[in-house]
Structures are given as C-alpha cells and as structure tokens.
C-alpha cells in the first residue's frame, strides 16, 4: 500500500464506521500509528473527538480502554491498585502457616493481588488496544505527570514489584475541551490535532451518514440552521452531537422540513442553556431569514 493509499485507507475505515474525516485528521491518525505517539485532540465540545477513538478501535478490530478523567482522579483509579481486602484476608488465613514473612510479602505483592486500572491494563494487553484518555483537562494538573512515564517509555513503575514494560503499545487518544491548558511536557509527547465545528458541506455528509433515513431537505435545513446558530454569541455553542440528536429526533417524528413551531418546540435538543434558548427564540425570525427557511409564522 503506497502513502496516498494509506491515508485513503484510514479515511475509508473511519467512513465505514460512520466517521467523516478530512485529510488532516486522517494524516494525524496515520502518523500517530506510524510513530507510535499519542494523539492529543482538542476542540469545542461535541465535535467528535471521543468518537475518533471509538471508531478507531472498531476499524482496527481492537478493544477500547477508556479512562474518563475528572477532578480528584488519582493514580489508584487510573494506573493500578492493590486489592487490600484480599491481601488482608490472605494474611489472616495464613497466620498459622509456616510461610516466612518474605514469602508472604512476595505473594501479596504479586500479580494476583494487583488490580489493573485502565493505564496498566492497556500496556499489559497482549494485543495493542486503543486507549482513550477522555477530557484530560478535567483532571488535576498533577495527574498529568502520571502519564509522562507511560507515554514516553511505555512502562509503569510499581514500587513494590518494579517496572512493568508494555507487552503491546496502545494507540493512545487524549481529548481535551480546553477547560485548562495542558502542560508543555504532555504536549511534547503527543501529536496534536484541533477539530473545529465542521463546514456546512461536511456536516451534511455527517448527518446523511449517521441518520440515513433523514429527508434530504430537512438535513440541509438543519445544517444551515446550525451554521447560523454557531455564529450567535451563546454561552454554549451546539456541536455535531447536537446536530445529530436533532436530526434523529425530527426524522423519528417523520418531519420533512423545519418551521417555526417545530424549531421552537425542539430547541432544547440543540441548546442546553436556558439563556441561550431564550436568545435563540428571540432571534428565530432572523435565523429563518438567514437560512432561507420559509416558516409558518404565528
């Protein structure tokens, strides 16, 4: 397979799984696999960052290991943890045995008592997995340092037993909504990809691919409407996820075109902030005019 074919192959693989990727996305994924480097994806919420990892695992026929980050997430939940209860139970059960202290210690700090969390699990898998570290910006800044050893040397050091080297190198996808800036140390270890809201043409393609039963006119109207809504000064702009939710909902209701009543009654699917909804409701006439949607006003 030549170079151009490999990029096209990735685009096609993603497309088969319902993900419409342009060449720059395909190139980043391709290089990330070639160089075995993590891919850091940033962009507004709902543009399909997480979806890339899910689709990749399907396309590559490998498992997806997901670590959802949140404030307060620590090494015990992300890397590994000793099964304390089991260790305690074992010690109580062997109290009367003739096993020496060293033997007991070697047993309770062995693999049987080690609970693998997502990061350790991903490197100990026999076959390379897709490791999704989702919304890393929600975790504390200190937490990023846990990744550094893993991402550069593909190993994890466990003080009690030593260093665990990767049996297979996972395909790492890290996503961030930019709630906070990530450290330079982490950025340097990754390839970077920024995904913005899609163009009108790309969004129609996504809607057609994900909601194949949708009426063509409705799909165009929805994408035009979303394009205009994203130009408004809103607290939370709707992403592709909202477009797809709206398209699916309207299609399920057998609606074939947008009008004022439909938009007003289903605006909650698109906008998730009450002030945004109010602002959009007040600008509906203007939005309709811009998108060229003929509305049944009043």
């Amino acid at each position: 397979m030549n170079n151009q074919q490999s990029i096209q192959h990735i685009t096609q693989l993603l497309q088969e799984q319902g993900y419409i990727a342009d060449d720059s996305i395909a190139m980043s994924i391709h290089l990330s696999m070639l160089l075995k480097k993590p891919l850091l994806i940033e962009g507004p919420a709902g543009v399909g960052k997480t979806e890339i990892a899910k689709v990749m695992s399907k396309a590559l026929h490998t498992g997806l290991i997901r670590l959802q980050c949140y404030e307060g997430l620590d090494a015990n939940q992300a890397i590994y943890e000793w099964n304390y209860q089991r260790q305690l139970l074992y010690l109580k059960m062997t109290e009367q045995s003739e096993l020496s202290y060293q033997e007991k210690e070697a047993t309770i700090f062995g693999d049987d008592f080690l609970m693998e969390r997502p990061l350790l699990k991903s490197i100990l898998a026999e076959e390379a997995q897709v490791l999704l570290i989702d919304e890393i910006d929600r975790a504390d800044e200190e937490f990023e340092s846990f990744f550094l050893e893993l991402l550069s040397d593909w190993q994890i050091t466990i003080p009690e037993i030593g260093t665990k080297k990767a049996k297979s190198i996972p395909q790492v996808i890290i996503t961030s909504n930019r709630v906070r800036e990530l450290s330079e140390a982490l950025r340097r270890r990754c390839l970077y990809l920024w995904i913005d809201y899609p163009s009108f043409e790309k969004e129609i393609e996504i809607v057609r691919s994900k909601v194949p039963e949708i009426n063509e006119k409705l799909a165009i109207q929805i994408c035009q409407f979303m394009k205009e809504v994203r130009q408004m000064k809103l607290e939370k702009l709707p992403g592709v996820a909202e477009t797809l939710d709206w398209a699916t909902a309207l299609s399920a209701m057998h609606i074939d075109h947008l009008d004022k009543n439909i938009v007003e009654s289903t605006l909650g699917v698109v906008l998730k902030d009450w002030q945004d909804i109010r602002e959009a409701q007040m600008s509906l006439a203007e939005l309709f005019e811009k998108t060229g949607i003929t509305s049944k006003m009043g």
């Binding site: 304390y84 010690l91 709630v179 800036e181």
Partner: protein, 380 residues
C-alpha cells in the same frame, strides 16, 4: 529572521531550517520533533504539497494557537525560501533601520516620573523630571517605599494566603489528626501482619492558585501612583506565581520586571517598558488584548484575576464587556479594586464600571493600607 531562510537541498536541512523558522515565530520545537518528522518520512513520503503540509502540521504543532497559525507560516516559509536566492541586501538594510530606532529612553522615563510624582510639591516634580535617568538611579529606596512597606508586605501576604486558601478534591498525607486515611492505614498495617498499630491521616490538598494582577496606570489613576507601584511590586515579591500587567491604552506584561529584588532597578526597567504613563484609558481594548494574548494560556479554574482601576473608560464598551465576560467565565474569581470606592458616597455608575459589575465577584476599594486591610477581610 528572514535572512535565516536560505536555499537548502536535502530533507534534514529543510526540516531543521523550517523548525528554526517556526521557533522564531513562537513554536516550541526541539530535536525530538525534528526527528519525528524525519522518522515519519521513512514510513510515509508525501505525494503532494498539501500532504507534506499536513505531515509537518501534525507533528510540529502543539496547541490551538499554533494550529491556526501554521498554514500561514508554512506558506510564508516556502515563499521566503524561493526569494532567498536573491541578494541579502534587504535584510542588511532592515538591520540598519533597526539600529537607527534604538532606545529612546528619556521620554518614557519622564512619563513614568510624571505619573509617579504628579500632584506632589513642585520642587519634587522638578527633580523628578530633570535628568530623569540620573534622578531615579540616585533616588533613595527608603524614601519611595516608606516605613509602611513592611506593613504593606504583611497585608499582601495575608491577602495572598487567603486567596490561595482553596482546596482540591485530592487528598494528601497529613500530620494533623483530624481525618483518618483508612486505605493507607490498612496498607501500612499489612507490613505488620494486618494489625493496626498506627493510623495514617489525610487532608485535602490546597490548590495552587494562579494570580493575575492587571493595573490601570492611566492619567486618572495618577493620584494613587505611588501606592499602585508599591502594591504591584510587593505583590510580586510575596507571590511568585503572579502575572502582572499594566495598561492605559494598551497592555504590557511586567511580571519579569517586578520580580527583580532591587526596587531601584524595577523603577528603571518600568520606565523603559511602559512608555505611556498617564495616558488615556482604554480598559476594554487592554483587557481584550489580555484575553487574546494571554487569556487562553493563563486563565483557568484556579485563576484569580485582580483588576486595579477606577473604571473610567474612553474606549469601546462592547469590547470591554466581551473581555470581562471571557475573563469571568474562564477564571475562578474576578476581584476589582477601585480606589474611588474608598469614598462612602461612591457608586459604580460610570458606563465602564456598570458594564463590568455583573462579571465581578468582589468589588472593593484599595487606595491605601487601611483599605487593603479591608480587602483581606473580604476574602475570609
């Protein structure tokens, strides 16, 4: 910068040269990134110009700002490269021009002095403006930072501590015996056969607060100039993780300058860096400049932004609102210290102030030591 771009014929030379060009434009690119590009070429030789651009972009870009800037720089690089075969005379001319525009210190120093000493007795003013460069270097530190300096530092320490008094959801080991850490207690007991001989205690970790200080040094703030400089300097001495900015019609970062332990040096450097003391006020434009240039990098949920200004704005109010909205949304807390608020009859009724109020978490006065003590009380 452009002169660095010379015609190169092999790939590695191109990669190194292009990386250097990007570094000149603010990209953090090291040998690892250059090696990654060369490694990528071993596996994947681009078949088009666009594909090559995508390859470089995927490896050399590390954040959004760079992502948005890259395409333009890439084109510029190749454009410059094709022109580089011509003579280098233009670059030499540019260098000469730059030399011609070398330091013009005196007016800016005078402006700082004017701003610092305006409103005081005429004699002092004369000393301040006459041979300003000399005057500052000979000025006794103790006469500028008065006997109140220690007290000022003390109050700022209290303010900084109170601002830093935020807790994370993460726990760390503690000497205090308030909360038992059950998990680690059991873990430690395993070494002694599972019998608990000693408890391990934990406490919530304190969050590192990121402080940002933005001070107005326009004409209308002239009256509070001495206090303002002392305030900024002391704050920077107490809090190491502090980013300081001043503005009148545009914004200037002073963090590095204020970090100098020698106040004399600081004053000297201040005058060089900010050429427009006592100018007009464009809070909106200045804060918007902060938003665009530093906002994404500096503001996060651990950021506390302290703005010291009287709120008199002569700029575009829509821009001011947009900037304040962004700062408020991105940071943990916005504190506005207004020297005018010290007057009991003061109402924040200027248009600029009215627009800012919904985006301010703490609004209080700060024009002398007494009012600063009140600020620390507000932060309890």
């Amino acid at each position: 910068m452009k002169s660095l771009i010379q015609r190169q014929t092999n790939l590695s030379a191109h990669v190194i040269q292009f990386s250097r060009f990007l570094r000149d434009n603010g990209f953090d690119i090291g040998p690892n990134e250059e090696l990654d590009v060369l490694n990528a070429y071993q596996f994947h030789i681009p078949t088009s110009f666009q594909e090559q651009q995508d390859l470089f972009k995927a490896i050399l870009v590390k954040n959004r700002k760079q992502f948005l800037l890259f395409d333009e720089l890439y084109e510029q690089y190749w454009h410059e490269l094709s022109r580089a075969e011509d003579s280098k005379t233009k670059d030499l001319e540019e260098q000469k021009k730059q030399k011609g525009n070398s330091k013009q210190q005196a007016p800016s120093i005078q402006a700082l002095k004017q701003w610092l000493y305006a409103g005081r007795i005429e004699e002092e003013k004369e000393i301040a403006t006459y041979s300003a460069f000399e005057a500052i270097s000979k000025k006794d530190f103790s006469t500028f930072l008065t006997g109140e300096q220690k007290e000022l530092l003390g109050i700022i320490k209290i303010i900084a501590q109170r601002l830093a008094n935020k807790y994370s959801r993460r726990y760390i080991r503690s000497k205090s015996t308030k909360q038992i850490d059950l998990k680690n207690t059991i873990r430690q007991s395993l070494r002694k056969g599972g019998d608990i001989h000693q408890f391990v205690f934990k406490e919530q970790q304190k969050r590192k607060v990121n402080l940002i200080l933005i001070c107005d040094v326009s004409k209308s703030m002239e009256l509070y100039s001495q206090f303002l400089i002392e305030f900024m300097y002391s704050f920077q001495q107490v809090v190491h993780q502090l980013h300081s900015f001043v503005f009148s019609t545009r914004l200037v970062s002073l963090s590095r300058t204020l970090r100098d332990g020698n106040f004399e040096k600081v004053l000297h450097n201040l005058s060089e860096q900010v050429p427009y003391w006592s100018g007009g006020t464009r809070i909106g434009e200045s804060l918007y400049q902060f938003k665009s240039k530093y906002g994404e990098r500096l503001l996060n949920r651990d950021s506390i932004v302290i703005i010291l200004s009287d709120g008199w704005d002569t700029g575009d109010l829509a821009v001011l609102e947009k900037a304040m909205k962004f700062i408020h949304k991105k940071s943990d807390k916005v504190i506005w210290l207004n020297p005018l608020a010290g007057n009991p009859n003061y109402m924040p009724s200027t248009k600029g102030m009215e627009i800012c109020m919904p985006y301010i978490d703490i609004f209080t006065s700060a024009h002398n030591l007494e009012s600063l003590k009140n600020v620390s009380r507000h932060l309890k």
